[in-house]
Subunit: 196 residues, 2 copies
DNA sequence: ACCTGAACACCGTTCAAGT
DNA sequence: ACCTGAACACCGTTCAAGT
């Protein structure tokens, strides 16, 4: 008679997969484990996602959106000063990346190409960085500067969460040092290009 | 009578695993595929490695050693000027990382903790960076500066190989821009700390 | 329209048996 | 001392059948 009503949803499934990912790594995100967590049998998941790669891709896309939102909020809250905005952005990126390390790592590695976040959602997430650096180095070098800043923030936090900083020292200090080095360098480059 | 002679070796197996990794991703590094490539049956691999994680870890350690060697050679070949040495180091890092993207990515993500490269091999690989930056910012800030530089190089190349630079623009240019921004910033910071 | 049990090909790993 | 075939528990995925 009445068709079977949905016992779970796309967002439930994504949430369950994200939780399993964060506390067990990619291997822990099995279709069996996800299904058990949302209360259905594994085959039912295929009514919501084409396959496991598509589910992992959806987790990555969600992480990109959340990361972009967190950065945008932080920039907004930092007031009008470009330097303060860039610092707030870098700090917010690290805070989010360290709080959800494996979902964030998913953004830059280990995803089936077909499941990568859409260019649109990536552009949305990249907006705040582009805006902030443009106000420092100007529009002509904004794209390169955004790439450099993102590379630093992503690289640093991915090394941090992978446990690559094993020689002691103050990791917080190193991050602050990096931000101030980049700021000093960007302001120099911005001045250079403004002068020429 | 005579005990069975070895039909393969640790380094053969690591090489086969690395090749499979580079052109098929981690999923392609199955014990079955590795065994077939070296000409034995899967169970035999367990005489050489405790389990799959240990094999993946050995691939990662090998990649760390190769990367460190490539960087050290490049620094050596660049002559005495600290700026030239740092530029050569950054370029060599990227060249190697882009040529062997998945093995390099392994260094910073997705490895079982027990299988991570030993601190000794990591220290060996990190030596050239530490030496070069020490000559620019001085010993007190060498560790932080090395972390910042490595974070940039690793972050940039990992984004590049993951296909994260999708808004056009000149990727080579962005990398050069990053190096010059970091150099300008580091020289400023070095001067600052020398002054104080 | 979504859910289920049964089934398939595959995987990592163990182990007793071969040489 | 290393190799092998057989076996185990597990995984992703498909599909016909249920409601």
């Amino acid at each position: 008679m009445s068709p079977a009503r949905a016992r779970t949803s796309r967002s439930d499934i994504i949430g369950a997969a994200r939780d399993l990912l964060e506390d067990g790594g990619l291997d822990a995100v099995s279709m069996a484990a996800v299904a058990k967590r949302v209360g259905v049998r594994p085959p039912s998941l295929y009514k919501h996602f084409a396959d496991r790669d598509a589910l992992i891709g959806a987790v990555a896309t969600q992480a990109a959106v959340d990361l972009g939102d967190a950065c945008a909020d932080a920039v907004e809250a930092a007031g009008p000063d470009p330097t303060a905005r860039l610092q707030a952005l870098a700090v917010a990126y690290r805070t989010r990346a360290v709080a959800h390390p494996r979902a964030t790592a998913l953004l830059f590695a280990g995803i089936a190409p077909a499941a990568m976040p859409t260019p649109e959602s990536q552009a949305e997430a990249a907006r705040p960085v582009l805006d902030v650096v443009a106000s420092i180095v100007g529009p002509a070098q904004a794209l390169s500067a955004a790439r450099v800043l993102t590379a630093f923030a992503h690289g640093f936090t991915s090394m941090e969460t992978a446990g690559a900083f094993r020689f002691g020292g103050d990791v917080d200090e190193a991050y602050r040092f990096g931000i101030s080095v980049l700021l000093a360098g960007l302001e120099g480059e911005g001045a250079t290009s403004a002068r020429s």
